[in-house]
């Protein structure tokens, strides 16, 4: 619950939004509000509402496979948008449905999920496993790889900028398919582990692989060794076995109250194997 907010700004432009933030370090951006409301913080004194900046637009270039989504788009909109039902085989639309509950997805935004990410976030590994980039504004517009951003001190990096959206550049040729798995103790529970993987294939070969694991229980990360291993390989089922061990070795999972390290590792193996055999199976069926 916020207790000390005295000012609420609704800027009409990105420049204005940024200038409002510059004045006072106890000002916070707000879009869907769910993340901030959950923070139970006394700290925010000023809120800067990004809701009127029209950051909820979507562009999809069918030809090139390039997708741009505005930061204030609600998660549930992404689940329902017609344009996304076939994008990467429906990877985004189908898997974002695993986030929270219906009312949470109606309020939570894509941008909020990126700038105020929880270690157990499902949105983050889904985006990482698409190789997503963020678009931001810090006086000028820029683009940055999401994985790269999270590898740095992203809070510091984002301090004087506004995340305006994401971009996903799928390879122009080839098909992209993916699988995302969420392990939770009950259906509505937050993830105790999650893992996503997309493969792009052309003429029986994997041209691009992206894989990410979250709720390790620490923050999500890409599994680049596995990706490097997969890229260039032919689509064959026995790929999964080798990749599975590699995923377990590099996922960096640990134990916590919810599950032991060994158990989490076993689930990383299972998810990796199911993801790869599933996606490869999709391609081989075609």
């Amino acid at each position: 619950m916020l207790k000390n907010v005295t000012e609420y700004h609704i800027p009409g432009s990105l420049d204005e939004a940024l200038s409002l933030q510059d004045r006072e370090s106890r000002s916070y951006f707000i879009a869907g509000g769910t993340g901030l409301a959950l923070s139970n913080s006394n700290r925010p004194v000023e809120l800067i509402d990004l809701g009127k900046l029209h950051l909820d637009e979507l562009h999809l270039e069918d030809e090139s496979g390039k997708l741009e989504i505005g930061a204030t788009t609600k998660i549930q909109q992404l689940v329902e948008l017609d344009e996304l039902q076939d994008f990467a085989g429906g990877y985004l639309a189908n898997n974002l449905e695993k986030v929270g509950s219906y009312p949470i997805r109606n309020a939570g935004t894509l941008g909020g999920s990126i700038v105020r990410p929880f270690p157990w976030s499902d949105v983050v590994p889904i985006l990482l496993s698409l190789g997503a980039k963020i678009r931001y504004f810090d006086g000028t517009h820029g683009v940055r790889d999401l994985n790269n951003l999270y590898s740095d001190d992203f809070r510091e990096t984002l301090r004087n900028s506004i995340v305006t959206g994401i971009e996903v550049d799928l390879p122009e040729v080839g098909e992209t398919r993916g699988r995302f798995y969420k392990f939770s103790r009950s259906e509505f529970d937050i993830a105790s582990l999650n893992l996503g993987c997309t493969l792009t294939a052309l003429n029986g070969k994997i041209t691009r692989a992206r894989m990410a694991v979250g709720a390790r229980p620490s923050f999500a990360r890409r599994l680049t060794e596995v990706e490097d291993f997969l890229q260039g390989q032919s689509l064959e089922n026995d790929l999964a076995e080798e990749a599975t061990e590699m995923a377990a070795d590099t996922a960096g999972v640990t134990g916590d109250r919810k599950m032991s390290k060994d158990y989490r590792l076993a689930q990383v193996r299972k998810m990796t194997e199911e993801a790869l055999t599933g996606v490869i199976g999709d391609f081989l069926e075609q």
Binding site: M1, L2, K3, N4, V5, T6, E7, Y8, I10, I30, G33, T34, A37, L38, N40, L47, D49, G51, Q76, G100, S101, Y102, P103, I104, N106, A107, E187, F188
Partner: protein, 161 residues
């Protein structure tokens, strides 16, 4: 700050402190106490209301976010003395026990039936998974939503026997 919004069809232009949660405004300023606080942090669904037709959790929503929008609470779905089919169905199937979670369930179900007039039982179960009920075991709630969907499809008024 001055906000303009609609609650249950009535327009308000009102000065509201910006850190006022929607749930507190509805309960304390408008006495719409069907909106229940079960957890205050978005984990139970008891405070669900519709904003522009979409279910949201009023405990996680601050008043400025509803500027220019329409809010609907359980009090707003009754037509005079006439109950909404969902309300009647919850009575008829035994979908109500202690009643504390009931307003949230009815509101989230209302959105479901607006979007999908003929949901399967599994679609209903999935849709309501963010709303916790500790009394019923959910089955009679699913029955109620299924029954209301049928009544609404058939265009029948729920008639008190």
């Amino acid at each position: 700050m001055e906000l303009e919004f609609t609650v249950n069809g009535r327009e308000y232009v009102q000065d509201v402190p910006p850190d006022t949660r929607l749930i507190d405004f509805l309960r304390e300023d408008l006495n719409l106490t069907s909106v229940k606080e079960g957890c205050g942090v978005g984990e139970c669904g008891s405070c669900t209301v519709l904003v522009d037709g979409k279910s949201i959790l009023s405990c996680l929503t601050y008043m400025p976010e509803i500027d220019g929008k329409e809010v609907l609470t359980l009090e707003g779905i009754t037509d005079g003395d006439e109950l909404h089919p969902l309300q009647q169905a919850f009575i008829d199937t035994g979908g109500v026990q202690c009643g504390f979670c009931t307003p949230g369930f009815i509101m989230v179900a209302l959105e479901l039936l607006n979007e999908n007039p003929d949901p399967t039982r599994d679609e209903i179960r999935k849709w309501i998974e963010g709303n916790i009920c500790r009394c019923t075991g959910y089955r009679k709630i699913v029955d109620a939503i299924e029954l209301a969907a049928r009544w609404m499809r058939e265009g029948q008024e729920a008639v008190e026997a």
